[in-house]
């Protein structure tokens, strides 16, 4: 049984992590100068990264409990508490968020010239809301952050986006809002069913009735599936990615869409294990469709960004496939793949942003042969391409391999079909790289292309390092999450044992 361990440090680290960016955003309100706004935003995002150091150093990966716990009454009449805590799953995403936000600010340094202050303000608010989502242990608080995140993201796409930004922004907002409000009703229903509590840990231990589980799972699914996004709820993603500014795409692909998968892990599986098992065939099927369909769509794209957007659909299909394999290999692979996807796709969007800033085109056909002009950039793109394909030695390999292992244990056909996705992935990514970097320079504009400057290299370097750190020493990530994941599986098992038929089903899945 999970418990909330009070913070080990003597100061509320998680609250600091939520409110430091808010403070930065507040300061930005009083700044008139664009360059000043950039430095303040960068300073606060780096300070946030620095806060990750005590977080990682003091985190105990050998226990499954929620650590750095904070709890105080907030809205007593509804039994709502301001309750924070972090475990081996969420800590990875908090660190990723802090890292990608800093990188986003760095890549926007010269790309954003219009309303810089508002841009940085939105980014910092976004960071605060996302960290809030990952550390909340009260459903109401979680929902506040979950929805509040929509505001800055909507503004980022809508104000600083491409030509079709209005359509993309409103589509993104409405899709996610409709999914979220259904979850809101389910959250309220859960509150009453479990005896007036929003406490996530208490709800994990509560056994909901079977019918209730099925319906509530569906409502949570509506919110999370849109966010992931799972096929067929993915159509907002290509639009949003293509129109969003580089920073927006990095955050969107790197972290935002992970929130959906995180939602499955943190809420759907532990709250409604019976329903999760019952829904498994549906979700696995949708995942496999997403893997193959996303890959095929990626082949057909002529736009650099759109191609990566569809590859995200495919990669997130692997994530949900792993999670709903419901065994430790699948879950750990899924979580690692979330992290990997954040790193590699974040880096890919960074790569698009770097080149787009120079050429102002995203059409793949406008490139070709640029490796001879921008060798550093081409190397960077190649490493990330390998990571995205899942070449052994990079992070992508570990994630996809583990997921397929888990899926294979669960059900062979799913694993076999999904593995085609890896081949397709290698196909479209290598073809992309070939069309962009190799051959002769076909577009005369690219003759004078400038290579990555120091700022861009500095932004890209941490991601490249992570590709190899995780790829060569996967335990750096597995070690952090392992205990929490085992606990999650045991917890589900314990909870469904009361219903013998379901337990048997789970037993088969777990191979016991």
């Amino acid at each position: 049984m999970l418990e909330l361990r009070p913070d080990q440090l003597g100061y509320p680290l998680l609250s600091f992590m939520i409110f430091l960016p808010v403070l930065g955003a507040f300061l930005l309100l009083f700044v008139r100068n664009a360059s000043m706004a950039r430095w303040i935003a960068l300073g606060f995002s780096i300070a946030e990264l620095v806060l990750c150091i005590p977080l990682l150093l003091n985190f105990d990966a050998t226990i499954p409990h929620m650590q750095f716990g904070e709890s105080m009454p907030w809205i007593a009449a509804w039994n709502i508490n301001y309750r924070l805590g972090i475990d081996g799953i969420s800590i990875l995403f908090v660190v990723l968020t802090a890292l990608l936000t800093t990188i986003s600010i760095m890549v926007s340094w010269t790309a954003i010239q219009d309303r810089v202050r508002e841009f940085m303000l939105s980014l910092l608010f976004l960071e605060a809301a996302i960290i809030g989502v990952f550390v909340s242990l009260d459903l109401f608080l979680f929902y506040i952050f979950w929805e509040a995140m929509l505001i800055p993201m909507y503004l980022l796409i809508g104000i600083w986006g491409g030509p079709n930004r209005l359509y993309a922004a409103i589509k993104f907002f409405l899709y996610t809002l409709v999914g979220s409000v259904l979850m809101l009703v389910a959250i309220i229903a859960v509150y009453f069913a479990a005896g007036h509590t929003f406490d996530v840990l208490a709800l994990m231990n509560y056994k909901f009735g079977h019918t209730f589980q099925m319906v509530a799972f569906a409502a949570f699914f509506a919110a999370f599936a849109v966010k992931v996004p799972m096929f067929p709820f993915h159509t907002w993603l290509p639009d949003a990615h293509v129109e969003a500014p580089t920073a927006g795409s990095i955050i969107l692909a790197g972290i935002l869409i992970k929130m959906g998968a995180y939602g499955f892990l943190r809420f759907s599986l532990p709250f409604f294990p019976d329903a999760a098992i019952a829904w498994t065939p549906v979700i696995m099927t949708l995942s496999v469709i997403a893997i193959i369909y996303g890959a095929y769509m990626a082949f057909a794209q002529t736009d650099f960004k759109k191609l990566i957007a569809y590859s995200s659909v495919s990669h997130m299909g692997f994530v949900t496939l792993g999670i709903f394999a419901l065994n430790s290999q699948g879950l750990e692979g899924g979580i690692l793949q979330m992290l990997n996807h954040g790193i590699s796709t974040g880096a890919l969007f960074l790569a698009v942003g770097v080149i787009y800033e120079r050429t102002h085109t995203r059409l793949i056909a406008d490139y070709g042969g640029i490796a001879s002009r921008v060798p550093v950039y081409a190397t960077f793109l190649l490493i990330i391409t390998f990571s995205s394909i899942g070449l052994p030695g990079t992070n992508g390999f570990i994630g996809e391999f583990t997921i397929l292992l888990g899926a294979f244990l669960h059900s062979k056909p799913y694993a076999v079909i999904s593995s085609l996705g890896i081949i397709l992935g290698a196909g479209y990514m290598l073809w992309l790289y070939q069309r962009i970097a190799f051959g002769r320079i076909t577009n005369p504009h690219n003759e004078q292309l400038a290579d990555m400057n120091l700022r861009e290299v500095a932004a890209a370097l941490p991601l490249v390092l992570l590709v190899f750190v995780i790829g060569l020493y996967p335990n750096s990530a597995f070690g952090v999450m392992h205990v929490s994941v085992s606990n999650l599986i045991e917890h589900m098992h314990a909870k469904v044992e009361s219903a013998p038929a379901v337990a048997q089903a789970l037993g088969t899945i777990l191979g016991r």
Partner: protein
């Protein structure tokens, strides 16, 4: 002689807030005679001062729970809660008016007096312990607002708004009186408490009581702009002076809900199983029509008119849920709604300049570049009206839907959240136009200290309640516990 007058004064003590508001109104009328046209703003500040004094007096009588004047006038926590909301609506309404009246060249003292009369009418409605007092208060409010709606005498649309509101309002009053007379004929009393006592023991198979209930639903529904009794709203909201529209969308609507709560959740409590069916039907209809019609509006006042219809729909969800939780959710909601709506109208008023309309949605184009503060305020109000956290609008809606789920009206909660997701479309359109379109021309805003104060109050409230709703929530729950 002295002792008699003291006794008399003491019996008046419970109505002291109402008396202060009325006396302020009379003082405004009196001073109006001596004040030059340029100095009329003074009357506005005098009115705000009167409201503030009334608020202080009400604050000091917060614990009171008594029935005076033979039970026709109740001073209880429930009415006190609503009086505070009315003070806010009236105070903010006057603050956003002062400069606007100058721009429209209708700066006359009667305006403030009528606002105060309307406010005292609303206070009477909230305190009514008897159908007659209720009707008196309602008519005092309505008559004042008919005149206010037509305050731009030279403007055809304003005149049209006033006439339309008056004719339809009179019609709905007729229905109300009919319904009340049926109640009286059936129960032999107009006292709300006695009617409740009668209904508790009466045989509820008598169709007349349902007929009376439906008539009251229709006439109160007219006041809160519930569909299908909303036909007057878009035209009247569009035609009336914007400051009056702002006040109308907050004050009378909230007063209407005060009456609905008192009559349907308290007096007609034995009939709740039936009234909840009607009210939930009305709620769905109101949310649907309000939100869907708002999608296609090009005039900001008409859009906010439909939005105010939609918000009446959300509040009706809480009313249909019933019980102390449902009632408290409605109270919290209307309070938050009054604040955020006043704020939104305040920004609309800012855009109004002499000689230009400033009411078209496209007039907001590029406001995010030309006037960052105004745009940021509008952004916050729009997100709050949509119900996106961490604004107060979310807390209000959350409580409404929570009480609906608690009352077993899951379907109604689902309908509510779907419609509020739809509403995002037209609220976000304003934000989009402000931030994502290029400005047509440089807009000079008509700001004034009073308008700035009103906006500062509402935006602070929207954010503070959004982040820390506990105190207001507890207060709403405590206020209802006396009667339910």
């Amino acid at each position: 002689m002295f002792s008699l007058s003291q006794e008399f004064m003491q019996s008046l003590a419970p109505v002291l807030p109402e008396a202060i508001v009325l006396i302020t109104a009379l003082l405004v009328l009196l001073f109006d005679l001596f004040i030059e046209k340029e100095g009329k703003a003074l009357l506005g500040w005098l009115s705000v001062g009167g409201i503030a004094i009334a608020a202080v007096v009400t604050y000091h009588s917060m614990g009171l729970n008594e029935a005076v004047f033979s039970g026709t006038f109740l001073v209880d926590p429930f009415s006190t809660f609503f009086k505070f909301v009315f003070y806010i609506a009236c105070g903010l309404g006057i603050l956003v008016s002062i400069n606007y009246l100058k721009v429209e060249d209708i700066h006359r003292g009667e305006y403030y007096a009528l606002m105060l009369f309307a406010t005292s009418g609303m206070m009477l409605m909230a305190s009514a312990g008897d159908l007659i007092t209720l009707y008196l208060g309602l008519e005092l409010m309505a008559l004042s607002i008919y005149i206010l709606a037509g305050f731009m005498r030279q403007n055809n649309r304003s005149n049209e708004a006033a006439i339309k509101y008056l004719v339809l309002g009179a019609f709905s009053s007729g229905i109300m009186i009919y319904g009340m007379s049926l109640v009286y004929g059936l129960t032999g009393t107009t006292n709300l408490g006695e009617i409740l006592a009668f209904l508790r023991t009466a045989d509820l198979n008598n169709p007349v009581i349902y007929l009376a209930m439906i008539m009251l639903v229709v006439s109160f529904g007219f006041k809160v702009a519930a569909v299908p009794f909303h036909m007057w709203v878009p035209d009247v909201y569009e035609g009336a002076p914007t400051s009056v529209t702002a006040f109308m969308s907050a004050g009378p609507k909230v007063a209407g809900f005060a009456v609905l709560l008192r009559v349907f959740l308290y007096t007609f409590e034995p009939l709740h199983a039936h009234s909840t069916v009607i009210l939930s039907g009305l709620a769905v209809l109101t949310m649907a029509v309000g939100n869907i019609m708002a999608l296609s509006q090009t005039n900001i006042k008409r859009m906010l008119a439909y939005s105010s219809i939609a918000h009446a729909g959300y509040a009706l969800v809480g009313l249909a849920a019933g019980g102390p939780e449902g009632a408290a959710s409605v109270m919290l909601y209307v309070c938050i709604y009054a604040l955020m709506n006043m704020g939104a109208f305040g920004v609309v008023i800012m855009l109004r300049k002499a000689g230009e309309r400033g009411e078209d949605i496209t007039d907001f184009a590029g406001l995010g570049k030309t006037n960052k503060t105004a745009a940021l305020l509008m952004l916050i109000f729009m997100f709050s009206l949509t119900g996106i956290p961490p604004t107060a609008g979310f807390v209000g809606k959350f409580y409404i839907f929570k009480s609906a789920v608690q009352a077993g009206l899951l379907w109604l909660a689902i309908a509510g959240v779907i419609f509020s997701a739809i509403s995002a479309f037209f609220y976000l359109r304003i934000i989009m136009i402000m931030y994502m379109n290029e400005p047509k021309e440089r807009i000079e805003l008509s700001t004034s200290p009073s308008l700035a104060l009103a906006l500062a109050i509402s935006v602070t409230a929207v954010i503070v309640i959004g982040i820390y709703p506990s105190d207001l929530l507890d207060y709403a729950r405590a206020s209802i516990s006396g009667i339910l």
